[in-house]
Amino acid sequence: MRERTNPEWMDDLRGKEQVEAIEDLRSYLLQGLHRTFVVRGSINEQDAQDFVQEALLVILEKKATFQGKSRFTTWAMKIAINIVLNQLRKKSWQDIALQDSAVDDQSLFPQQMINNATNSPEQQAVLSDIFEIVDDVVQHELTPRQREAFQAMLSGVPMVIISERMHSTLNAVYKLIHDARVKMRKRLLEANLALQDVMDLFS
């Protein structure tokens, strides 16, 4: 691919060099998707070509919004990768309802799970205290939407799926989970647990 500066990409993508520039960009994006998704078997070559085509349409439509804070090619690759990731995440979770991931009326963190996290009885004791508090916050201090988002996140549901199922945005869902963490951290600080000691032991 011919090296271009950001202004050169902008010029070429709308001028008489457009066809060559688009083909260069297509080839560049395909290389990136091949290395990150195709070789791992997440998608096949045909999928990669389809995703690149979809990305090119978005890139050409949005290129006027490119602010030049990165290389144009990095910005374009970001768009292509987000399209693939969102598609893969949606496909993985398409038949799984959000409430299937939620845990109701029982501890989110069973003692056996805590015991499996460490062999040290001292650490197990501190972890038990930590998760008793976290569990109490989840059950009694979070709003229903904070609880729904936090439990889904805990179950490994991707943010894009949580936001879709909750009819919300990525930023809004992140805020719900962030607010939940703020409440948990506050309660842990109030309990004066030796949390830093635990974190040091984990690191």
Binding site: Y28, L29, Q31, G32, L33, H34, R35, T36, F37, K69, S70, R71, T73, T74, W75, M77, K78, I81, N82, L85, R89, F109, M113, I114, N116, A117, T118, L127, I130, F131, V134, L154, P158, M159, V160, T169, L170, N171, A172, V173, Y174, K175, H178, R181, V182, M184, R185, L188, L195, Q196, V198, M199, F202
Partner: protein, 74 residues
């Protein structure tokens, strides 16, 4: 939940800041963050809110790692 996830959750709660940016704000800046990373710059100092978000959000962390790998390969 796997033991490592449990520890990860404790770390995330403990490292929570009063002000954090959301996923859309992080993704908006991710290309610039990746270029700085590849240039060996101090991203913690130059883009602390993005760094903080990546430490908290597994999905955006995954997008960052894949983008970094793709740019290195292409």
């Amino acid at each position: 939940m796997e033991p490592n996830k449990l520890k990860e959750l404790v770390r995330k709660i403990w490292n929570t800041k009063e002000h954090e940016i959301g996923c859309e704000d992080c993704l908006e800046q991710l290309d610039a963050f990746v270029d700085l990373t590849l240039a060996g710059k101090d991203t913690q100092m130059m883009m602390p809110l993005v760094q903080q978000h990546l430490d908290q959000c597994d999905d955006c962390r995954e997008a960052f790692e894949i983008l970094l790998e793709a740019i290195k390969a292409a």
